[in-house]
Point group: C2
Chain length 339, copies 2
DNA sequence: TTGTAAGCGTTATCAC
DNA sequence: GTGATAACGCTTACAA
């Protein structure tokens, strides 16, 4: 058992000495350049004998490439990373980055202190690019990225991006419009909405789509606002809606988890779904198929969103030009049993 | 609007030139050493005029300190980061690290390719330490950490740690034993268990506690195994258990989410809870209070686990000695309505 | 093919 | 107090 304390790191220098060659040659076998068979053999022998772990940080300093991309999920102290949508985007992005041999590093942003430190981290040369998820209007991190000219991609589209950063997302307005219209074709007369997390552009957009689908029938009083996307909020939101309008016969929930909660509240209230009340959700998450009845909802191409975001960053890293505008990916309305 | 392409970075060198001082002096104002008021003024003026973002990667190379700590959540392609427990540990750890001005970086480990790359990343000087969550026995990443002598802390306690890395966790055996014993005092005769994710030590330990609580009454056939900790698995597990033993009057679910699914299956089957069947869970997560009836369960000090893990790493970074053994944190049995 | 040497951007150790 | 100067560990022209 070797003695405690930080063991001296073996460097390219040491390997060179042990193999009787120059540091340059060692570096060449590490990266792949012209090198004789005997030199390569000697170096590889030295490496296995005395051990060697390259210092990628030093390499990054020299090459100005860290081969790392940050994935920043904004969202105040609540579970940003716990959000299944974000988790899925993350995994899809990682898959793409991984194939390109880039390390994805997730940064959590809980406090103002975090924001500042993450800003320094992003500008400090530890990452080559960044993917930002669920930013809100005016998020300072966007400013940092823009000033730094850091290759970036934003998931969603906070209104103040003004063409500086490419983004990828879905047409929340259109998707909401479509599913609510479809709900209306089932003959519903008094349709409400449970809206959540109004500080996110995605949710205000869904409200906009809801309003446009209803047209003149839109009634502001049937829009219930809840703070979070969670089951509990769905239950409470639906209870409130039933109190405001006992005759409600349709509900658009801002997400599936909210819709699942709404189903619970409807069950409590003794209303049948879809008999008395038609319910539609958003996301086509696991909730949609677990719920009883299964939810009619909007499917987001969540994997593709992550994939596209990652590709957008990689493309910039390769120096290829990217259109600074947005990629709007298509959604599909999935009709099941809840409406 | 400045021209496209990577703008030249301004360095300490540039600032020194602009302020008419040496680089050493600039470095001193950046880090806090003796420097005259006029020099400091000139430098700060230069910084605000021509702009300057320090390259922390270069600093890391020189100081051998990156001020970053990795948080690695193992767990094959499933939602590791989406697991609410892990998310909570992560946030608690981040809070502690943040206060110590360290950047926490989360690394996802989905594939073999990821494992190798993360190993390189950890050894490359990008992080000073690492927190590992939910490792399984024989996870190669543990070997990497040990060989590297990287300051580390493990959450949970994979059996092959052999005192090389400090860990923090709970007494899963004891906690399971206690809650199952309590369940038995309500007069249950045929008690089963829905066990999940058997490749994690935490879950095999819960099974061990279950077995010891039942003693001679333990019946291997009443242990149903499901692959994941999710609602669906709970539903399926309970259905299976009822099929195997229609007379079952008690269930220990390996986690609250499983228990919630079990409640659903019991409802389907027309069994009352806790009347016909007593149900207990584990974690005291949000599921426990949302469920109907609310779950009796085991509360893990999840925040403290994250806090302790972070402190363990920070202490090593400060060069203070840490006992390589484990910290076993106390759990509490929370008795509610489901049993 | 290989060695030499010049950095990458920073901090630390000296004298002055 | 401050300015040279030498690293940190690596890559990469350029020569040889």
């Amino acid at each position: 058992m070797p003695p405690p304390g930080p063991r001296k790191r073996t460097t390219v220098h040491d390997i060179a000495a042990a193999a009787g060659v120059s540091r340059g040659t060692v570096s060449r076998v590490l990266n792949g350049g012209y090198v004789s068979v005997e030199a390569r053999a000697a170096i590889e022998a030295a490496i296995t004998t005395i051990g060697f772990v390259p210092n990628t940080a030093a390499r990054a300093l020299k090459t100005r490439r860290s081969q790392a991309v940050a994935f920043v999920a904004l969202g105040q102290h609540t579970g940003s990373f716990a959000d299944p949508n974000i988790g899925a985007v993350m995994r899809a992005a990682n898959a793409v980055l991984s194939l390109a041999d880039h390390q994805m590093v997730n940064l959590v942003l809980d406090s103002a202190r975090d924001t500042e430190r993450v800003g320094r981290y992003l500008s400090g040369g530890f990452v080559d690019g960044v993917i930002v998820v669920s930013a809100r209007a005016g998020d300072p991190i966007i400013g940092v990225i823009r000033d730094l000219r850091l290759p970036a991609a934003v998931v969603g589209h906070p209104p103040d991006l003004d063409g500086a950063v490419p983004f990828v997302g879905i047409d929340n307005v259109g998707a909401a419009h479509e599913i609510v219209s479809r709900l209306l074709t089932t003959g519903r007369r008094r349709v409400g909405m449970i809206a959540a997390a109004q500080d996110r552009d995605s949710c205000t957009d869904r409200l906009t789509g809801f309003r446009s689908a209803l047209g003149p029938a839109f009634d502001e009083r049937l829009v219930v606002r809840v703070p979070e996307h969670d089951y509990r909020s769905g239950v409470l939101g639906m209870r409130l809606l039933l109190e405001l309008e006992p005759a409600a016969d349709g509900v658009f929930a801002a997400s599936d988890v909210i819709a699942a909660g709404a189903l619970e509240a409807l069950r409590e209230a003794g209303r049948s779904v879809p008999g008395d009340v038609g319910v539609v959700g958003f996301d086509d998450s696991a909730w949609a198929v677990w719920s009883q009845p299964r939810l009619s909802t909007v499917r987001q191409p969540i994997d593709e969103i992550g994939t596209v975001a990652a590709r957008l960053v990689l493309r910039q890293l390769r120096g290829e030009p990217v259109d600074p505008g947005g990629r709007i990916l298509p959604t599909t309305t999935v009709w099941r049993d809840s409406a």
